[in-house]
Amino acid sequence: MAAARTLINVPPKAKRGDVITIRALISHVMENGFRHNNMGEPIPRDIITSFVCSYNDEPIFEATLYPAISANPFLTFYTVATDSGTITFKWSGDNGFAQEATAKITVE
């Protein structure tokens, strides 16, 4: 499967203890499995089912997505800046879909 485009927004620098905003967007059709094509045949479900965000390998935000999430799932959430390091984003879903993205953060 072709890699899906991702768009991550993490502040590059933060003060220790600050609450930072993280935004994560991924391009995906999120075909909900309830629609039919013009021949009346059902279109099979193809969605992202899980999203995990880890801060230095520690999960900070986990979401289970259902077909009622819009195409190109967009999530905004928060965390406390504790240490400099890497924030990892992992999406996985139907038909073996898997995508990963990372962002660096420097904490002073």
């Binding site: 900070i60 979401a63 009622a68 999430i69 819009s70 967009f74 959430f77």
Partner: protein, 162 residues
């Protein structure tokens, strides 16, 4: 003459009956074509599955969905929970559910004490004017909920691609 009249009325009757039947069939097929959606009962069952039968009290959680939505394909939804977010008192999970979408579940989020702010935002699909419910589970095992009635002008989920 009488025969002719009879024929005339009979044919009119047949025509009317025919129209009636086709209308009925049309309505019938409309009802059949529409896929069965989740019902308030399905949502109640999904809520029971989350809470394990415990009561979800109103309060502490705030669900922010616009009350009037033009396009159900993308509805910006924010959920925030009042919580001190300490290692002993934090938000474990937040769930969003709908009453009339084909499936009641929308999103389930697991949180940790280091979230900083028990809040998230995403974009959801709505199939109909309906009630949207958010439920949160606290670390002490209590459940809290908030509901919003949404009026929708363009449905998502069930429409076919153009």
């Amino acid at each position: 003459m009488r025969d002719k009249l009879n024929v005339a009325t009979a044919s009119r009757r047949t025509v009317l009956a025919g129209i009636g039947a086709s209308l009925g069939a049309g309505l019938g097929s409309l009802i059949v074509v529409r896929p069965a959606g989740a019902t308030p009962q399905a949502m109640a069952a999904a809520i029971r599955q989350i809470t394990g039968g415990a009561e979800a009290k109103p309060g502490r959680i705030k669900l922010d969905v616009p009350p009037l939505v033009e396009n159900g394909n993308s509805v910006t939804t924010t959920v925030r929970v009042e919580s001190p977010l300490t290692p002993t008192d934090f938000v474990k999970a937040i769930h969003v559910l709908t009453e009339k979408n084909p499936q009641p579940n929308v999103i389930s989020v697991k949180m940790s004490p280091r979230a900083g702010k028990a809040e998230f935002q995403t974009r959801i699909r709505l199939a109909d004017s309906q009630q949207v419910v958010a439920i949160c589970e606290m670390s002490d095992g209590s459940f809290w909920s908030d509901k919003v009635d949404v009026i929708l002008t363009l449905s998502a989920c069930l429409e076919d691609p153009v």
